[in-house]
């Protein structure tokens, strides 16, 4: 009895620490304390669990924990451009743990004749969510790592096929609650969930990855909640609910940033905007040298830098920081405009710039920076395209019409760096590049920005 109180008290303390942990994430100044609280909560919960009298042997627990640590440490040291893949992979692990525990519990209770309607239903839910998160996240990780083709694969009746798979699984789950002994149905549910996870991600293109990762995050959280219901463990329910609501909120933010409806995403019916508007009439963009760009930047009073994923692909973050340093030293007001979907997952661009030691108070959200752009002298666009495409505001025929963008075109001058004139991810032409006040600087971001830095420091030497 005493032991039960002890275990439950440790769970209660763990749940408290988890909530505090997320609360401290509200500010970069307290965020690391949040990690400490999370670690503390986890340690307490594990310590409490190890006190359970049902545990007769620790051998396999220790072996598994050692293996987990051996895999976990290198996974925490991946380059920051690979963080989205790592995150998807960890959703897969979370889903797998839920699925395996559900499967094990079902067959144990089946043997012992302890399956009730409620337990069976909760297990079915846990297993469906867990296994679909497993394969879905593996697919997402594969696409992000470009092991799996990133091009969306679509076919006629895709939604019908997907939804009927899910419907069959749900029907099997409901039947199981009436006849818990029909274990063949449990196997069927597992197979369907595994297949559904793959099919859910197949039609999704690279540009939609931030939304998909957030959604899989929510599924992983919900599978932990379902596990909590199966095991009647409240700390699992709390932690799973926190994870699930986080995934939900991030998905909603990503949806808004891409101008997609939430139901659209829930059914995975997206990534189909690839119908490129194609060949426009040949127009001429004004192009210049990095030196021209340096002159323009050096004479500006205020500069806003719009980074896109292209910057990270070219590994140009540190050059960007050098430009920031040069300009700030001259008294130029420099800020970064961060679009919510810049990068491959929510907040990705902030982390990439923070790694290059750009101070976080220079990183400004799209909604906040848009007020300043009409008074900005120069906007420098690096490897971003759709997020600065004015067609999103003005052309109802454009596939990205309605998507919130950074109003780069409202600044006095725009400098845009691109490798070539080819259209971006979504295959859409960008009027910004042809505007009278836009200077295009073609070339690899890293070398172009390096030349701009050289230009700026040469200029500084003259003054």
């Amino acid at each position: 009895m005493m032991r039960t109180h002890f275990i439950q008290a440790s769970y209660l303390a763990a749940a408290t620490l988890f909530i505090l942990s997320l609360r401290w994430m509200s500010d970069p100044k307290t965020a690391r304390r949040g990690v400490a609280a999370g670690v503390g909560g986890m340690a307490l919960a594990i310590a409490g669990t190890l006190l359970h009298p049902e545990i007769i042997s620790f051998t396999w627990i220790v072996v598994a924990a050692v293996i987990g640590t051996i895999i976990g440490v290198p996974l925490s040291r991946v380059p920051l451009t690979a963080v989205p893949q790592r995150t998807a992979l960890s959703h897969a692990f979370g889903g797998m743990a839920a699925g395996l525990v559900g499967t094990a519990k079902y067959f144990l209770w089946l043997q012992e004749g302890q399956l009730t309607a409620f337990r069976t239903g909760a297990i079915a839910l846990e297993v469906i969510l867990g296994y679909l998160t497993l394969t879905g996240s593996l697919m997402a990780a594969g696409k992000l790592q470009e092991i799996v083709p990133t091009r969306p694969i679509t076919y006629r009746g895709q939604n019908v096929v997907n939804l009927s798979l899910l419907a069959v699984a749900a029907a099997a789950a409901i039947y199981l609650t009436y006849a818990p002994q029909t274990w063949q149905l449990m196997i069927l549910i597992i197979v369907l969930a595994l297949a559904f996870g793959v099919l859910l991600i197949v039609p999704i293109g690279g540009a939609d990855m931030p939304t998909v990762i957030s959604l899989l995050n929510a599924y992983a959280g919900l599978s932990a909640v379902a596990m909590g219901f199966v095991l009647e463990n409240k700390v699992l329910i709390v932690a799973g609910a926190l994870d699930g609501s986080s995934g939900l909120i991030l998905s909603i933010i990503m949806c808004r940033a891409m101008n997609r409806s939430f139901t659209n995403v829930l059914f995975g019916a997206f990534g189909q905007v690839q119908t490129a508007s194609g060949a426009g009439e040949a127009r001429v963009a004004k192009s210049g040298t990095p030196r021209d760009a340096a002159d323009l930047l050096g004479n500006a009073g205020s500069v806003v830098i719009v980074p896109g994923y292209g910057m990270a692909v070219a590994q140009a973050q540190h050059r960007v920081r050098e430009i920031y340093d040069q300009l700030t030293r001259r008294g130029v007001d420099v800020k970064f405009a961060i679009h919510p979907v810049a990068g491959r997952m929510p907040g990705h661009m902030n982390v990439l710039l923070a790694e290059a030691e750009v101070p976080y108070d220079a990183l400004i959200e799209m909604d906040d920076i848009n007020h300043d752009l009409p008074q900005t002298d120069v906007v420098l666009v690096i490897g971003a395209n759709d997020v600065v495409n004015p067609a999103a505001r003005s052309d109802p025929k454009s596939p990205i019409y309605g998507m919130p963008i950074i109003d780069a075109d409202k600044a006095r001058f725009v400098i845009a760096n691109k490798r070539t004139m080819s259209p971006g991810f979504a295959g859409i032409d960008n009027d910004l590049y042809y505007a009278d006040n836009t200077l295009m600087v073609f070339g690899d971001a890293k070398s172009v920005l390096g030349d701009i830095v050289k230009g700026l420091s040469a200029e500084a030497a003259v003054h």
Binding site: V35, A97, F229, P340
Partner: protein, 98 residues
């Protein structure tokens, strides 16, 4: 399990979801990537259920499934907390001008 247990779990779920929505909405947008790796590590609390299945050693199958689940959860705990801290260390205030 009594019917009341089920309902108390449902209440816990409801309240935790509302707390979660509230707390997460206040998370700085700067930190959404570390947030995701942190919640990832936290939801690896699934380790609790996995440990019980692996440690009870009821059947060979349940022990194997439980142990694999422990390994997967510990991977998430270790890599999740470590990478979150690694990323958060990079977020600096504006440096004093030298």
């Amino acid at each position: 399990m009594s019917a009341l247990d089920l309902w108390s779990m449902a209440f816990v779920f409801l309240l935790a979801t509302f707390v979660g929505l509230q707390v997460i909405q206040n998370v700085s947008r700067l930190l959404h990537t570390p947030l995701m790796s942190l919640t990832n590590a936290i939801s690896a609390i699934a380790v609790v259920g996995s440990i019980l299945i692996a440690g009870e050693e009821h059947t060979m199958m349940s022990t194997i499934l439980g142990s694999v689940a422990v390994a997967a959860s510990v991977t998430n705990i270790v890599s999740g907390f470590l990478i979150t801290d690694r990323m958060l260390k990079m977020f600096r205030d504006r440096r004093p001008k030298a």
